[in-house]
């Protein structure tokens, strides 16, 4: 049987853009499970929205002669035939130069490109599985429309970050049906960017709790002095924060001459100049906090308090960034592997509702910060779902 055909819709294809990381794995292959793996798919059509001097798509199309670049999304999906001509679509609307909203959100055209993709599906009377990198849209209403459209048209829709599927150090899966009282992720990066990764790190764990996901009631963001006050007031548990920090490989030493030490709160204040936290409560009472602590850590560390028996669990969701630490963002390999499952079976290996929820949380986090740290009710996020039974993160 010939390989299934794929199209890619990408904002920018330059070194270390998400488009490069993801599409390259389908073009060049990747290390998987102890061997060099070539996905059994042919990436044949590609649309790149912004082609600059650092573009790599032309080089890739030259070397991989089965790949054709098209000037439109419709062209990439129809291979110029006017009718959907591929079996799956890779959609990476991350990186590239786009305007920001007044709240600071980059207006990546995910909704607009999604509309163009489903337009081809509709005109062709046929839908194929679609992968959407990261959150669905910076705007909740658009994200919800994307979700509703995929449901109505009944195509496999997978989205989100690589955090839920990358290595965990140590290898830890939240047992299905766990009673979770509180969860935190201590990580780094920017608002409307890595906050989404932190939220997905938490959500891929807590969605496995007893009763499944029940949705989120409210969210409150803290920044700067408000963060330190919230921390002192015990808005989140210090022992969970410490447990998460003890999983970090990048804790900045607070004192000269020491290479690895646990900072006091006063020392943390000198290291993390502009910390951000999103604290939010689920409908079943679970309280979660995502912390961006630039200057303190450069990794993603999760901790949770479980009941019956009472214990703290913790792990690092491993993101070996090519920022000098590595040359390959190998966390895209388990994402590519799960995308292969989507294209093979037509079904996402994990629920799209996770990413719908984290998309909504990201947007509300930005709103709360914009409103000076107001506590915001989130009736639109009061939806539930069940996590998949299987573990889908990289373990072999």
């Amino acid at each position: 049987m010939p390989n299934k055909k794929l199209a890619a819709v990408i904002t920018v294809y330059r070194k270390y853009s998400h488009g490069q990381h993801i599409a390259d794995r389908f073009l060049e292959g990747y290390g998987w499970n102890g061997a060099y793996h070539h996905p059994p798919f042919d990436l044949v059509g590609m649309y790149v929205d912004q082609v600059g001097a650092d573009d790599l798509s032309k080089e890739r199309a030259q070397r991989h002669t089965w790949l054709t670049l098209y000037p439109t999304i419709e062209g990439a999906l129809t291979l110029g035939t006017g009718k959907l001509a591929v079996d799956g679509v890779i959609f990476v609307g991350e990186h590239g130069t786009y305007q920001k909203t007044e709240k600071g959100q980059v207006q990546y055209p995910r909704y607009q490109f999604f509309k163009q993709i489903v337009d081809v599906y509709q005109k062709s009377g046929r839908s194929v599985p679609l992968f959407n990198d990261k959150h669905l849209s910076w705007k909740w209403e658009w994200a919800k429309e994307m979700y509703d459209t995929a449901k109505a048209m009944n195509f496999g829709f997978m989205a989100g970050s690589s955090l839920p599927v990358t290595w965990r150090i140590p290898k830890f899966e939240m047992p299905l049906g766990s009673k979770i009282r509180e969860a935190v992720c201590v990580c780094y990066g920017g608002v409307d960017s890595y906050d989404f990764h932190g939220l997905e790190s938490i959500q891929c764990m807590v969605e496995r709790r007893k009763g499944g996901e029940t949705g989120v009631k409210w969210l409150q963001a803290y920044r700067g002095d408000a963060f330190w006050k919230a921390m002192a007031d015990g808005v989140w548990s210090r022992d969970l924060m410490t447990a998460a920090l003890c999983r970090s490989h990048t804790l900045t030493p607070a004192r000269e001459g020491f290479n690895d030490m646990m900072p006091t709160m006063e020392e943390m204040k000198t290291l993390a100049k502009d910390p951000v936290a999103y604290t939010y409560e689920h409908n079943d009472g679970l309280r979660c906090t995502m912390m961006l602590m630039n200057g303190l850590v450069k990794d993603f560390n999760f901790a949770a308090r479980l009941d019956n028996p009472s214990k703290i669990v913790s792990t690092q969701l491993y993101l070996p960034m090519p920022d000098g630490r590595t040359t390959l963002a190998t966390f895209f390999s388990p994402l590519a592997w799960n995308m292969e499952k989507l294209f093979e079976t037509g079904k996402s290996p994990y629920p799209i509702e996770r990413t719908l929820l984290t998309t909504g949380l990201t947007a509300i986090g930005v709103d709360s910060l914009y409103a000076g740290g107001a506590k915001l009710e989130t009736p639109h996020l009061e939806f539930g779902y069940q996590a998949q039974k299987e573990s889908v993160f990289e373990r072999t």
């Binding site: 990747y30 102890g34 669990v313 913790s314």
Partner: protein, 409 residues
């Protein structure tokens, strides 16, 4: 079914709890530190400091039930921290090893000795080995033990000595005098991606280890990475019969002729997070073996080929220019491919050294080495013999002295 790393080491969480449980109601273990230098990011500092300020293990900041009572530093280069640490943590820096172990008195006044003979300015021999005075430090410790008629556990960082003869004497002395000894690299105890070990007693068909970073510093780490995997084979470790170290084009020829498995090299490299060349150029993933890019990237390849006494053969490759991490691949009968990356976490935290310190602390607390010192002894000898082979023009060198037998459990 693969043995997971946790099963292999005993659950790490369990180990931390038992260290805590063992500490309850006990006086702190008095530790003397004997090191070449104590300077930021030297092994002496990052290992020694963990006994002073604690370290992260299993999601907790663990404070060992240890009191560092004395320090000897052989050299005090610019940036020396020994006096600052002594002042802050309430111990003394002594001018001799004997005085450090006796805390200025006449007899042994500590319960454990931490020897870190890595870093500092020392001469090199004609094999390119840096002549760290580990054997000499050890002998001075032993002299105190003898004079005091009392022995305590000794940890020796990295290989025991550049000389197998000296290393053997160290191990013989430890066994004869009846004190536990632990040595070696962090590589055997760091995280593995994935968390695998070769099932104990399995038949290993072939194994390839890939490292980088040059001879007589990083090749020891890679060699111990290889050894901690293959020592688990059927029959236990029997020692090494012969070694051969190839350099330059001979390495590529050995790969082309099948003397070294290309499939296993490819498998090991598939575990890497740091392929250079095209990945560095434009971020792309690449099959470095299949694409034939290695000879262009690696200017000075080296292959350390090991023939064990039971007939098993394995190869350690130092491929500076190809990758910047440490990866292993093997074929195990009935299991298939067992491959992993030994994770060396970023500088400055080097959190992998906390995993090593946990093992050192375990020996200090229990009086038993968590794994055999013979692993480090054999690895020290394999390394020296490989350098002998290289010096003699890459000839095969018989190694009757390396009949080091041991069994891991």
């Amino acid at each position: 079914m693969l043995t997971t790393r946790r099963e292999f080491l005993g659950t790490a969480a369990g180990a931390a709890i038992s260290l805590k449980a063992m500490a309850a109601g006990r006086a702190p273990v008095r530790v003397a530190i004997v090191t070449t230098i104590y300077k930021y990011l030297s092994h002496g500092q990052h290992i020694g400091d963990r006994f002073l300020i604690g370290y992260p293990i299993d999601g907790e900041w663990h404070q060992p039930n240890v009191k560092v009572v004395s320090l000897y530093v052989d050299q005090k280069p610019e940036g020396d921290l020994s006096e600052a640490r002594a002042k802050e943590f309430g111990f003394s820096v002594y001018p001799t090893i004997a005085e450090a172990l006796c805390c200025g008195g006449k007899t042994l006044a500590c319960d454990a000795v931490l020897i870190v003979g890595e870093h500092g300015e020392y001469a090199s021999n004609d094999k390119g080995q840096k002549l760290y005075p580990r054997y000499e430090f050890f002998q001075q410790c032993v002299a105190v033990f003898k004079a005091s008629k009392r022995v305590v556990p000794v940890y020796n960082d990295k290989h025991l000595s550049y000389s197998f003869e000296k290393a053997s004497k160290m191990v013989r002395t430890a066994h004869a005098m009846g004190f536990p000894m632990l040595g070696g690299s962090s590589i055997p105890v760091t995280w593995r991606l994935p968390e695998v070990a070769i099932p104990l007693g399995a038949s290993i068909e072939d194994a390839v280890m890939v490292g980088e970073g040059g001879s007589d510093a990083m090749d020891f780490h890679a060699m111990e990475g290889l050894q901690c995997m293959v020592e688990r084979r059927r029959g236990g470790e029997t020692g090494v019969k012969a070694v051969q170290m190839l350099v330059g084009d001979e390495v590529w020829k050995a790969l082309d002729s099948g003397k070294i498995s290309k499939a296993l090299l490819s498998s090991a490299l598939s575990r890497s997070d740091t392929p250079l060349g095209f990945s560095d150029l434009d971020g792309r993933t690449q099959d470095m073996v299949g694409d034939g890019v290695l000879p262009g990237l690696v200017k000075n390849p080296a292959a350390y080929m090991i023939e064990y006494r039971d007939g098993f053969r394995a190869t350690m490759l130092m491929l500076d220019g190809a990758v910047k991490d440490f990866n292993f691949a093997s074929t195990v009968r009935g299991v298939g491919n067992v491959s992993t990356q030994f994770l060396l976490t970023p500088i400055p935290n080097v959190t992998y050294s906390a995993r090593l310190v946990q093992k050192i602390e375990e020996m200090f607390m229990t009086g038993k080495a968590p794994y055999p010192i013979e692993r480090t002894l054999l690895t020290s000898g394999m390394l020296e013999s490989c350098l002998d082979s290289k010096k003699q023009g890459s000839v095969r060198v018989e190694t009757p002295a390396l009949a080091v037998k041991y069994q891991v459990v």
